[in-house]
Assembly symmetry: C2
Homo-oligomer: 396 residues x 2
């Protein structure tokens, strides 16, 4: 582990900045929207030139993002390199830093986060509460873990999992081999976590500057369906002391990762009253999409600000309540929704269509955010619009 | 005058729409921001590939926008053609319509608006109050106009004026030749208007659907400096009956032009208590930039909605007051501002940097919008940020 992080590079030219984003999905697109308002130029590295971010970037470098050559090409044209997913190898990012490029968050942060077993180790070493977990390097160690953690347990790939992909819940001992095979345990490094009996899943977005100042967004409740974020309610309806604990843990978690930029911290609020850190994302996050309309400065704008060394904007909610509902693909089909003409009639529902070429079952295709005097009012508004929109409808 | 407008074409494919914008300035850029949220693709026709709209469009056709060939190239790739300025010749747009393309606003509307003398004729014929005006086809007719309208009078080019360019105020009879020469009266068609002694300049944005439904934004006060919009205050502090008159006139003016899309209507509130229509812009307008943050649905989103035949969004103010301050270039120089790092410390000031390559004196380089419990509070917030930002500072 190099000490390059001790003196991270500053962006080269903050008087007319260009940022490079690794990845071209909806997160890169919404970063591009925030950047464009501030006149910040954006270059995206992605292998898909028809990506969502094509709408809000100045240029696309159409290359794989896990190649040093293409990362160098990106870095050479921008003042700071950032990312919209944690799948790029930290060693490649470190190479960019060693060649003098500014990478934010740093390779060190990505290294600590992208392998979820290392992430958990770092969090535990920092004294932060996490679910019980053990490394599962071999098939045999899974049997030992079952004995140690009990059932059910959650088996996870150490790298590249998202939206439930790379996770499987083991409920019965006789399914051990099946679940091992499902995650291709012989090819992929796995680890296991004890099952947490939770009443709420919580999330907090934090934007952190290179100097360590933080903008902390409200604690929200996230509701998953089939392991995919479905609804986000801001603020979460939980006791104030639980909120305080969640905020404190989230802040400490980002500090443990030496994070710079916007980070998403997912937590469990357990039936027994504990708050446990589930997972950390070193980037803008689905649980913070509501901040575009509902907060004074969005997670996206604050990411741009922090990676450029600019001051933080206020994360304050500008309405009593906000609800975000994801729009998922129903089927394989066209990426543009049926029903948007009807949905736009719902005043107060802010509809986002990501502009993906193709829909697929459960693919994140867009989202709706609504604000209101209460969570119920905001939910109803958002839901009224969301239910009218259909992606991958075969009738198109 | 063809009757093509009686049955305007619909966009070809509203299930995955692409719009084409003639012009690539800040208005096209902000239209692109609104389009991107709705997943609407954008192609821009401009002769400057480093234009502001490069940040928010999928593709640029780098050609002159006053050539039929390039307009055809744009139209052939999009579902609807729209524009960010009224300088493209209406006859070229009519040719596109006759070839089966959807143009919104229609060529007919542009024809009625782009020549300001025709515009005034149409408004007067519709029974709407306008300042006294006369055609000035020759140098001699200027002398007649002076006798008829009195002094001061305002001499204007019939076409292509903006931000005071193409206008001159004639105060003394002995300056008649000078002002005539200044506007190149021998080359350009001119007209003259009687000077209006006003206490307020007012503006209203209206978004109008092809079926004639309108979203009417609040009446705002615009404060010009050297003929350039400097500050917009929403809502204007004028008696309620004056507001009602202004809204009624604005709506009738857009109807007279058979407008589709967002239109800006500038008016004078005279010392004698009259409301007179000054000018109409058949497009999104500087006086409506505040709607991005301060209204439920912005003038830009409503323009996209109306030209695609989608329902109107609500133009309601979501704060008691909003103020927009333009950021103008100080000098020739770099297009990125000094001081943005300081200005971003002002919580609640929403800073927009257009991303122009070069600054020039009085060039519109960006703007700041702030909301507040009163106009004074909003103005102070916006002003605190605006005064920190400097474009074209020689120290860059």
């Amino acid at each position: 582990m190099s000490d390059i992080n001790a003196t991270p590079r500053a962006p080269r030219n903050i008087h007319s900045p260009t940022i490079g984003i690794i990845g071209g999905g909806q997160l890169a697109k919404m970063l591009g929207q925030a950047a464009s308002q501030l006149g910040v130029q954006v270059i995206v590295l992605t292998d898909n030139p028809q990506c969502p971010a094509a709408a809000t970037c100045h240029r696309i470098i159409t290359e794989s993002s896990n190649s040093l050559a293409s990362l160098r090409e990106l870095a050479s044209q921008v003042d700071v390199v950032t990312l919209e997913n944690e799948f790029v190898d930290a060693a490649l990012l470190r190479q960019l830093e060693e060649e003098g490029h500014c990478v934010r968050p740093t390779s060190r942060s990505i290294e600590l986060v992208q392998d979820k077993l290392i992430q958990k180790d770092v969090l535990r070493a920092a004294g932060l509460p996490v679910p019980a977990f053990v490394d599962i390097p071999t098939r045999e160690s899974l049997d030992i873990a079952i004995a140690q953690l009990g059932l059910p347990l959650v088996l996870k790939k150490r790298r590249n999992g998202y939206d439930g992909k790379g996770n499987a819940t083991l409920r019965k001992i006789e399914d051990a081999q099946k679940v091992w095979d499902e995650l291709s345990g012989n090819q992929h490094a796995l680890f296991a976590e004890g099952f947490v009996d939770f009443t709420h899943e919580l999330a907090v977005m934090i934007s952190r500057t290179p100097e360590g100042a933080s903008a902390i967004y409200p604690v929200v409740e996230t509701i998953q369906k089939d392991h995919i974020c479905h609804v986000v309610k801001a603020p979460a309806q939980i006791p104030i002391d639980v909120k305080t604990r969640a905020v404190t843990l989230a802040k400490q978690a980002v500090e443990a990762m030496q994070g710079v930029g916007s980070f998403g911290i997912e937590m469990f609020y357990s039936r027994s009253g504990e708050v446990l850190i589930n997972e950390l994302a070193p980037r803008v996050h689905n649980s913070g999409h509501y901040t575009i309309e509902a907060c004074e400065c969005s997670q996206f704008e604050n990411h741009i600000r922090t990676i450029l060394g600019w001051p933080l904007g206020s994360p304050t909610l500008n309405a009593p309540a906000a609800v975000m509902i994801n729009l998922l693909g129903m089927n394989n089909g066209h990426g543009y929704p049926m029903g948007i003409g009807q949905a736009l009639q719902i005043d107060g529902a802010h509809i986002h269509v990501y502009g993906k070429s193709l829909s697929a079952p459960s693919r994140k295709m867009g989202h709706v955010t609504a604000m209101g005097a209460s969570l119920d009012i905001a939910f109803e508004l958002a839901q009224n619009a969301a239910k009218l929109i259909r992606f991958g409808d075969s009738k198109i």
